[in-house]
């Protein structure tokens, strides 16, 4: 069963996001899906591309809001709309460039970076859910130790801090051993 009750104003949404409540983003996603996707579809995007861009836009929005970087001077919908427009313009530019250049002209630098990210990704996966959450909430969402403790049900901020420290040491160790087995500079 699925009932959706769609009444939450911008201020409430922002408050929830600042507390790290992802449901607020789900809500926004559904609420403005049609508008954003239509905009991109009308500008020569497929539905898949439109969806992808809209999701990226929401992640940008989430990150800005959750880290407290966002000062909202317009409605959320207007703001999201402009992020979508910018992202879509960039994507169109990129596609145009690609059509003139070699498609496989990816630099070694990019390649190295991607490979490193993939290794880190794998190591994070091995750490388990709690570590992944603690670390991503800290680095991506920039949540305070208090908020992380609340969200993950730890006793207090100190517990979260200790956990974060241990997880990070463990991750560094794992990544270091894998990095050393891959030569990134040939």
């Amino acid at each position: 069963m699925a009932f959706k009750i769609s009444l939450m104003n911008d201020e409430e949404i922002l408050q929830r996001i600042r507390k790290g409540d992802e449901r607020a983003v789900d809500f926004l996603y559904k609420k403005h899906y049609r508008m954003m996707v239509n905009m991109i579809s009308k500008n020569s995007g497929t539905e898949e591309e439109a969806k992808d861009v809209y999701q990226e836009a929401l992640i940008v929005f989430w990150k800005k809001a959750v880290t407290g970087e966002l000062v909202l001077t317009s409605k959320i919908s207007t703001y999201l709309y402009s992020i979508c427009q910018n992202l879509w313009r960039k994507e169109l530019d990129r596609k145009q460039r690609l059509s003139y250049e070699e498609k496989d002209a990816v630099t070694h630098l990019d390649h190295d970076r991607q490979e490193k990210i993939a290794i880190v990704h794998r190591c994070i996966g091995e750490l388990g859910e709690t570590c992944r959450k603690v670390l991503t909430y800290f680095y991506f969402d920039e949540m305070s130790m208090e908020d992380i403790a609340t969200k993950l049900g730890f006793a207090n901020a100190d517990t979260a801090k200790t956990k974060k420290y241990k997880c990070k040491v463990e991750l560094d160790k794992k990544v270091k051993s894998l990095f050393s087995s891959v030569d990134f500079f040939d």
Binding site: A2, I5, V25, S77, I124, T136, Y139
Partner: protein, 286 residues
């Protein structure tokens, strides 16, 4: 800030852009002079990039899993003293609502409660049929049908009389009324953008039949219950206290706490706190 930091913390603060301009200058000088430090910073940069990417993908996956249903939205306004009831469903149900300061129960019906009669106007009930299916289907229950379901479950006549049924359309009308009243602006495509101070919840409940012990997942707008819920209807109770909403499950004489954010299967743990039990029991009896 950097004065008190160990190198580990300083590198971290540097990469997260948390150093002030003095600290930054100082750190960059060290960085240029010390190749080991530079290597370590590059290493840490990779790790942070990886962490950012992992979280980005996680959020993306989350959004990707949201189904966009064409124009099926229930809009519920702040309904006077409290709660609305919402329709009912093949699978078990739930529901939510908001009242400004009082604890609120939603979706209450249980034949095993000593006096399961809903007496106040604040609480309306839904019959919850414990049909156990994996598929999520949406079934609109007409008042007539709902009554039938409940009567079948009830052992007393009073129960049937006292229960107040509403078709799903009723809350929706409230919603529209409310929206008109509080609308403060329109989105670019003319949809309703802002409404008064109304809290929302939306929850999808799936029940997976299993003879295992009770388990659950509760995240996003989804609650998944696993176990044998065939002994009778279960109930979801939302307590709205101190600006916090907590969700509880009542089944077969026991209450269980449902922690939001439980993304992997977790055991349903019985509530043993006497005070909370009483509070929940009180809500149910009400």
């Amino acid at each position: 800030m950097a004065e008190n930091l160990n190198p580990f913390d300083t590198i971290e603060a540097y990469l997260r852009g948390k150093l002030d301009s003095n600290e930054l200058d100082k750190f960059e000088q060290q960085l240029n002079a010390d190749p080991n430090l530079k290597n370590e910073v590059e290493f840490q940069q990779s790790i942070q990039d990886g962490l950012l990417e992992v979280r980005r993908l996680e959020l993306k996956q989350r959004l990707n899993s949201i189904k966009i249903e064409p124009a099926f939205e229930w809009t519920i306004g702040k309904i006077a003293a409290g709660v609305a009831m919402v329709g009912l469903i093949g699978l078990g149900a739930s529901y939510l609502l908001k009242s400004e300061d009082k604890p609120v129960i939603v979706a209450v019906h249980h034949q095993q409660v000593a006096n399961p009669v809903v007496e106040t106007e604040k609480i309306k009930t839904i019959a919850v049929e414990p049909i156990l299916e994996k598929e999520t289907t949406i079934v609109k229950v007409t008042p007539k049908k709902a009554k039938k379901v409940l009567m079948a479950k009830s052992t007393t006549e009073e129960l049937a009389h006292s229960v107040d049924f509403q078709a799903p359309v009723i809350p929706m009308e409230h919603g529209f009324h409310h929206v008109e009243k509080y609308d403060e602006g329109k989105t670019p495509n003319g949809k309703i953008e802002q409404v008064g101070a109304i809290n929302i919840s939306s929850l999808t409940v799936d029940v997976e039949k299993s003879m295992d012990k009770f388990h659950y997942k509760y995240f996003s707008d989804k609650l998944i219950l696993v176990g044998d819920f065939s002994k009778g209807p279960y109930e979801l109770i939302e307590l709205n206290k101190n600006q916090e909403k907590n969700l509880y499950l009542y089944y077969d004489g026991s209450f269980y706490e449902l922690h939001y954010g439980t993304e992997s299967m977790d055991h349903l743990v019985k509530i043993t706190q006497r005070k909370l039990q009483n509070e929940l029991l009180f809500k149910i009896k009400k």
